[in-house]
């Protein structure tokens, strides 16, 4: 997981698998960022190969916290088969999904 800052947006690049272990690491990171007062979060999933409902739950948690703080959360770079998970769960209507990180940073 690589964290960076672009245009005031905190970008979290998550690679590999968001299985139970990966999700737990992401949750710890996201909670720390929210605690530190970050209000714009972009998840760069271009290197992500796997996500399950627990991974989605962490994204929803970030969304709910940031909505209260008038913040934003978006996702970019998801692979086709992962995009399908967002569609089936209905979360494609909640999270702005951008093709590239550049699109997301300028569009958020």
């Amino acid at each position: 997981m690589i964290e960076s800052k672009e245009n005031g947006i905190t970008v979290l690049a998550v690679d590999g698998n968001l299985d139970a272990e990966g999700t737990q690491a992401m949750e710890v990171k996201v909670l720390a960022l929210l605690e530190a007062g970050e209000t714009s979060l972009l998840f760069d999933f271009s290197g992500l190969d796997y996500i399950n409902s627990s991974g989605l739950r962490v994204l929803v948690l970030a969304y709910q916290r940031l909505k209260k703080a008038s913040g934003k959360v978006a996702i970019c770079g998801v692979k086709d088969y992962i995009q399908e998970v967002f569609e089936v769960s209905g979360y494609d209507k909640i999270f702005p999904l951008f093709t590239t990180r550049g699109d997301a940073v300028s569009g958020m």
Partner: protein
């Protein structure tokens, strides 16, 4: 010819994802299944086994979870057998997809099962000899295989 069937036993005390993920991937690769199908199979096993381990046992003992994956006539079957509390997948509550996220009583409740139901074509459940036996079937159609996902 690659084996058309694999079986393995895990237990509720193991990191099951690390057990089955390489097996599903190897099985999928041996049969030339698209990434998307391998992902669907992995996700189904993950959600169901996580469910069993998280909610299925009233004691703290070690319990076996047996999995068989078959590939015959363009249909993949996954059979999961466990001795956890009865869990009928058809009685699991659906997530409140039509309710805005903020108003849902259960923000993520039932999502794992909802994903499973959408990733396979057929589901059968029975309770037999104190065991849950779940059978999932997925058709590997031309359409799925022509995508690169």
């Amino acid at each position: 010819m690659p084996e058309d069937s694999i079986s393995f036993r895990m237990t509720n005390k193991q990191n099951c994802f690390m057990c089955f993920q390489p097996k599903v991937e190897e099985f999928g690769a041996a049969h030339g299944l698209p990434m998307k199908v391998i992902f669907h199979l992995t996700l189904c096993l993950d959600e169901l086994v996580t469910n069993i381990i998280s909610y299925g046992y009233a004691d703290f003992d070690e319990h076996p979870i047996d999995v068989t994956i078959n590939y015959v006539d363009e249909v993949i079957s996954i059979r999961i057998e466990d001795d956890s509390e009865p869990f009928n997948i058809f009685e699991a509550p659906e997530p409140e997809l039509d309710v805005p996220l903020e108003e849902r009583k259960r923000p993520i409740g039932g999502m794992g099962i909802h994903l499973v139901k959408n990733m396979v074509d057929e589901i059968d459940y029975k309770r037999e000899d104190g065991k849950n036996i779940l059978l999932l079937k997925k058709n590997i159609c031309e359409k799925c295989c022509s995508t690169d996902g």
